[in-house]
Amino acid sequence: MELLGLFNYWIFAILLMIGFYAVIAKPNMVKKLLGLSIFQAAVFLLYITMDKVDGGTAPIIQPGAIDQIYSNPLPQVLILTAIVVGISTTALGLAIVVRIFEAYGTIEEDETQQLDIEE
């Protein structure tokens, strides 16, 4: 039961590496970006896991509540902004992929490299 408190961190490690696998092993660029967003989500999970306090609630202060425990607001702020930045950078990556497809006719990394060598 004591070790169950680490379960979230293990899932973090597994998700992180599933995302990383997609980035390094898949030549398809959209797949790489999907892997990158899984990687990102894993980091979000790590931070949000750290904010939890036993018996706590969301850090919105209730008037009149005495001795209420609140979870840590700081990791939440960091991740809240990171999520929106994450989607913006993913969109930028997708735009680059679209332009690569228009220029090369493929979005598989090994094929674009082959076309570069042939030129």
Partner: protein, 327 residues
């Protein structure tokens, strides 16, 4: 009970992630990534992060799926099978996973109140927010005032990414040589389907109303500019899917979208400059009113509005850039 529920959700997350990586049809992978985000949002919620859960649900499950689909409409849907270097990658990934798992044995357990992360500035934020700022939602207070510089930087990053996408793909009527009139009228993804049309038209006013609620209720409950901007953009994207690209760009013209993108960030920075002019330091809202607490509340309201406008503008512009490309 919550622990069991958490373990269930986390296991589903891993299964979905494996599904995303293994699926050779990218359309299926994108749909799975929407499910992945929704599961992640549920996870955040049971970990007490209501604001983050709202953001992840609106941005990850909503906008991000639409943007990926918009990109897939312009690129091949089928991934080519390629197994070169698969075993090397699997080996690297397995070894790294084991190393990271080994490192977690040093981590404090989930929910441990003695963990170092809870000993630093967090208790100060929780204690001082009612006194210094006087709003109930501590997340909004930290976001808006205590870490206002950081948030300003994030808004600039979002704006920069939006500008980058527009340079790469163009936006008819604003960036690039294509004109808005060149887009085919009434052509839309959902134009031929009756049920999404009727349901969508019913939902759009409520989505926009909810966005306004999330925007202006952010000081009291979960919400704020980032979430409201994403929800607002989602409402207009739904309209564009139903009525067509050209009609949507007639309601909010591309040039006005540019103004929104930059104007939101400018409003945020402008509040900072105003604080300087009134004799305070940059983004120190206490000087905005005679009572420092009222000043803080006004400042947060103004910068959250700036964040909301900027995020909504950027996400909408990015969507239109993808949707109008190649038509």
């Amino acid at each position: 009970m919550t622990v069991l529920f958490g373990i269930f959700l986390l296991t589903l997350l891993v299964i979905t992630a494996v599904g995303i990586v293994r699926s050779e049809n990218l359309f299926a992978a994108v749909m799975l990534s929407g499910i992945f985000s929704l599961l992640m949002a549920a996870n955040f919620f049971i970990l007490d992060a209501a604001d983050v859960a709202l953001t992840e649900a609106a941005v990850g499950a909503g906008i991000s799926t639409v943007l990926l689909l918009g990109a897939l409409a312009l690129t091949p849907i089928q991934e080519r099978r390629n197994r070169a270097g698969r075993w090397v990658a699997l080996g690297v990934v397995t070894v790294t996973t084991l190393m990271v798992v080994y490192a977690t044995f040093e981590k404090p357990r989930l929910g441990d109140p003695q963990a170092p992360v809870h000993q630093h500035v967090a208790p100060w934020y929780l204690e001082q927010t009612p006194e210094l700022v006087g709003i109930p939602n501590v997340v909004t207070a930290v976001l808006g005032t205590f870490r206002g510089y950081d948030t300003l930087g994030e808004v600039i990053v979002v704006l920069t990414a939006g500008v980058g996408v527009l340079f790469l793909l163009g936006l008819p009527g604003a960036v690039g040589h294509r004109k808005r009139e060149e887009l085919a009228s009434g052509r839309s993804y959902l134009g031929h389907h009756l049920i999404p049309q009727v349901v969508g038209q019913l939902l759009i006013p409520f989505i926009l109303l909810f966005a306004l609620y999330v925007q202006f209720h952010g000081e009291y409950g979960p919400g704020g500019g980032f979430q409201a901007g994403a929800i607002f953009a989602a409402g207009f994207i739904l309209y564009a899917l139903i009525a067509g690209e050209r009609e949507a760009l007639t309601i909010i013209s591309p040039r006005f979208l540019m103004v929104l993108m930059a104007g939101g960030a400018l409003l945020y920075g402008g509040v900072g400059i105003l604080c300087l002019l009134l004799g305070g330091s940059f983004l120190d809202y206490s000087v905005l009113a005679s009572d420092p607490r009222t000043g803080q509340q006004w400042g947060i309201l103004a910068i959250e509005l700036g964040v909301g406008i900027s995020v909504a503008g950027v996400l909408l512009a990015i969507y239109h850039a993808f949707a109008a490309r190649g038509r």
